[in-house]
């Protein structure tokens, strides 16, 4: 009926160069920014080298957290939930060969992003410090075992979970363990107080700073082994820690062989349980069924609802109302979406905790109050863009095979997309407003600043939400049942980049007037504003609405062209 993903082979030809171009641009910007940080850090005598070492340790630690999280989610998916497993396990494939192929697939799937976007940071460190050529060779040699260790741990954990626990909600278990791992590493990173490194003045004495910098980041973590290997090469000083080399290279090998050996005996049992889990009974499914029953009759039984409809009399039942209602019901009853709500809560908590720390930088005039205000708007805008990407971008695709109902119904595709937009924008608006108000109140911004930030975030959310729906219609994947995968597709990346451009454009165009009003409110002197500033501000505030209209139309036209 509808072409599921790409419109034509011609579009496919443009896709790879476009993605490569965007990646290269991102790679270059990250490299330049990292180089700047390293060069600035090296100027801080006598702590420059220690500072670079500390920043690299934290980078390795953050990457380790990301790798563990994505490997756990990927391992469950590639070993137990992938559609092709049903075919593969019935073929006469040797167990070790199957395990190895899935291990490599899992490794590549969950590590390529970190490898691709982590390398510019490490290369920048080498260039900034003036490292010898063999540092880069060693870097590549270190990265391979570094990304393989989380894969080994994840495959063992997945095997354990599917064998031991009732695997009713294997996906939820994957996400749960991923989040636990991520949270532990988040706490570790937070304990290091990396924001203090931004502002050396926050240390009481040079001694305190040296103590913090020279303390090992963590003990017994692969990130520490990796740093112990690369740092002597980076600064061409000292001997490489042989114990760290041994641990770094032997651990993934040991994990691989132990995992392969255990998979010989226990994989089929886990796989079988994971399949039963899709249909089986457990406390969780019982709870889910009970909840479904409650939600289906939450407004009373069918008879009660019929009486409500009858009360409309000759008034028609609203199309938009029903589109919104349908989307909300389908979303809330899809148990695979529930775990995503955990992610939303995690994002909010991480945002607020981190933001509080940025206040230190503001106090020390690194960012300043105005800078902090704008930074908060941009960061909150990013959260809104990301959440819209996760929940609104797949909204058209998740219609899936039921989309025929919309196409043959007497409604325009524009109206259908507006229904999607209005129906799912509400929660994003609430989260955006919650974050912007709580973060601004947390750092004691004035009421005027809070109100302006709230307004700017609101218009940004409205525009970005429509963009997500519109771009989701331009790049639909009707045959992909996994909303999370749709949200990380090529089209979603394009939407994210353009969405951030809109957010930044609004913040920049409203900057003059909002700064002026903020200063006037607290009785401080302010740079005067003129008609042109007001005009630019109004244009900026109107921009998201114009973008919303344009992208909804573009999405509808794109869907029509696919028929």
């Amino acid at each position: 009926m509808l072409k599921g993903s790409l419109r034509s082979s011609e579009e496919g030809r443009h896709r790879a160069p476009a993605f490569a171009g965007l990646s290269l641009l991102f790679w270059f910007l990250l490299y330049r920014a990292s180089l700047r940080v390293v060069e600035e850090a090296m100027k801080l005598d006598p702590v420059g080298e220690l500072l670079v070492q500390k920043l690299l340790s934290i980078t390795f630690l953050v990457f380790l957290g990301l790798l563990v999280f994505s490997n756990i989610v990927t391992a469950f998916s590639t070993f137990y939930l992938a559609d092709d497993m049903e075919f593969l396990v019935t073929r006469p494939i040797p167990k070790d060969a199957l395990f190895t192929s899935r291990f490599v697939e899992s490794l590549l799937q969950s590590s390529w992003v970190v490898l691709l976007f982590g390398m510019p940071i490490f290369v920048a460190a080498g260039v900034g410090v003036g490292a010898p050529p063999w540092f880069y060779v060693l870097l590549i040699a270190v990265m391979i075992p570094f990304v393989a260790i989380p894969t080994g741990i994840a495959t063992l954990l997945a095997l354990f979970v599917t064998n031991i626990l009732a695997a009713d909600r294997t996906r939820d278990a994957a996400l749960f363990f991923g989040l636990v791992a991520f949270s532990v590493l988040f706490v570790v990173v937070r304990a290091l107080q990396p924001e203090r490194l931004l502002n050396p003045d926050s240390f009481d004495s040079i001694g305190e700073m040296l103590r913090m910098l020279s303390a090992p980041t963590t003990a017994y973590l692969p990130s520490d082994w990796a740093i112990n290997v690369v740092i002597p090469a980076l600064f061409s000083s000292g001997a490489v820690d042989k114990w760290s080399i041994a641990l770094l290279f032997l651990t993934p090998l040991a994990l691989f062989f132990v995992s392969a050996w255990l998979h010989r005996g226990y994989y089929m049992r886990g796989y079988s349980k994971a399949q039963e889990g899709r249909h089986g009974r457990s406390v969780l499914t019982a709870f889910r069924d009970w909840l479904f029953k409650r939600t289906t009759t939450v407004r009373g039984s069918m008879d009660k609802n019929l009486a409500q409809i009858a009360a409309h009399g000759e008034r028609s039942i609203s199309t938009l109302g029903q589109l919104v209602r349908k989307d909300l019901s389908v979303f809330l009853r899809d148990a695979s979406q529930w775990s995503q709500l955990l992610v939303v809560v995690a994002i909010m908590v991480i945002y607020l905790v981190n933001f509080k720390y940025f206040e230190i930088a503001a106090n020390e005039n690194l960012l300043g109050d105005v800078g902090l205000f704008s930074f908060n708007l941009a960061a909150c805008g990013f959260v809104v863009v990301a959440l819209s990407g996760r929940f609104l971008f797949p909204a058209v695709s998740v219609e899936g095979r039921s989309f025929w109902m919309i196409l043959q119904a007497p409604i325009s595709l524009e109206r259908f997309l507006v229904g999607k937009w209005l129906g799912m924008m509400g929660p994003i608006v609430i989260i955006g407003q919650f974050i912007i108000w709580s973060s601004n109140l947390l750092v004691g911004q004035s009421l005027a600043n809070c109100l302006m930030a709230s307004l700017i975030t609101l218009v940004n959310t409205v525009g970005v939400a429509a963009m997500a729906v519109g771009f989701g219609a331009v790049y639909p994947q009707f045959h992909n049942p996994n909303a999370a995968k749709i949200a990380s597709s090529f089209g979603a990346v394009i939407y994210m980049i353009l969405g951030m451009f809109v957010v930044l454009a609004v913040i920049m165009s409203t900057f003059h007037v909002s700064t002026y009003l903020g200063h006037i409110y607290v009785g401080a002197s302010a740079r005067p504003i003129y008609a042109k500033h007001i005009l630019v501000t109004l244009t900026g505030l109107a921009l998201p609405f114009l973008v919303a209209t344009a992208t909804i139309r573009m999405g509808a036209a794109s869907l029509r062209s696919r028929l």
Binding site: M302, P410, L563
Partner: protein, 284 residues
């Protein structure tokens, strides 16, 4: 549109064509479907039946040609044309996370049916399709046949003038067959509804269709009542099955040439060194 201007036919297809790249799925079909008839569309697998019906319902856009539904051009005024049309696909993909009642209420919203009318018709249709006790149950718990019956209920809810049905009997039990056949006849006879259905179940077509067309290789190769088709095929007293097989039979060379032409190798004879198929060419 005034009564005097009312068109003769509810569906008018004019040189309707659908191409996928070089492949021609529907090859310049022209057709008129009169009001109040059960109109059958027959043909072998891949003949272009489903593509034709999907274009009539607005699920696919024609490459060329026009579709007029009750005087409304589908290309220019699709909302008005679709308001008159109900569609039942061969596979009942519906929103599994809705209840049967919520699904029908959603359809009421799509067609902007007045509240009072929807409140009367929803229980009535649930009863007709023996789904009354499942009104508050999630569709995901339904069997294929139950889902199919629910889609029937949804398609009939807005009282369409034209009901387009693609393979209505797929997944239905014998009781369901009987129910649907009787229903189609009643809708056409008592409610002046036009039923345009494609089917492989020739017994259904024989029992209820007033007129039939047979499509092969994207073209209409025969049209008329069953008796007219019998005469055309030379199967004087034959069943529809015999008529169908006679009309669609072709030798290997004819088939090769037709396939070559359909896949964009219009110079078929030069490839297969044979003449093109000798069918009626799609014009009715």
């Amino acid at each position: 549109m005034t009564h005097a201007e009312k068109p003769r036919s509810i569906v008018v297809l004019d040189n309707l064509e659908k191409k996928y790249g070089k492949f021609t799925a529907v090859d310049k079909i022209s057709l008129e479907v009169p009001y109040g008839m059960v109109f059958g569309v027959l043909g072998p697998n891949g003949a272009g039946k489903t593509t034709t019906l999907r274009m009539i319902t607005g699920l696919l856009r024609p490459t060329a040609g026009s579709i007029i539904i009750d005087g409304h051009d589908l290309a220019k005024d699709d909302v008005a044309a679709k308001r008159l049309t109900g569609f039942i696909p061969d596979r009942p993909y519906v929103y599994d996370k809705l209840t049967a009642f919520e699904y029908l209420r959603f359809v009421s919203g799509l067609y902007q049916i007045p509240g009072k009318e929807a409140a009367e018709r929803i229980p009535e249709l649930l009863a007709t399709f023996e789904l009354s006790e499942w009104g508050d149950s999630l569709i995901e718990s339904f069997s294929h046949g139950m889902k199919q019956r629910l889609v029937f209920a949804g398609a009939l809810l807005p009282k369409p003038k034209l009901l387009v049905v693609d393979e209505p009997m797929v997944g239905l039990d014998p009781k369901g067959h009987r129910l649907i056949k009787a229903l189609f006849r009643r809708l056409a006879d008592e409610h002046d509804m036009t039923i345009l259905l494609s089917t492989h179940t020739l017994e259904v077509a024989e029992d209820i269709c007033d007129q039939l067309i047979i499509i092969n290789h994207g073209r209409i190769i025969a049209r008329g009542t069953l008796n007219e088709l019998r005469i055309e095929s030379g199967e004087g007293n034959g069943s529809l099955e015999a008529v169908f097989l006679r009309l669609t039979e072709e030798n290997v060379d004819e088939r090769r040439a037709a396939v070559a032409e359909r896949f964009g190798q219009g110079d078929g004879p030069s490839i297969f060194e044979e003449a093109p198929p000798t069918d009626t060419g799609g014009q009715v």
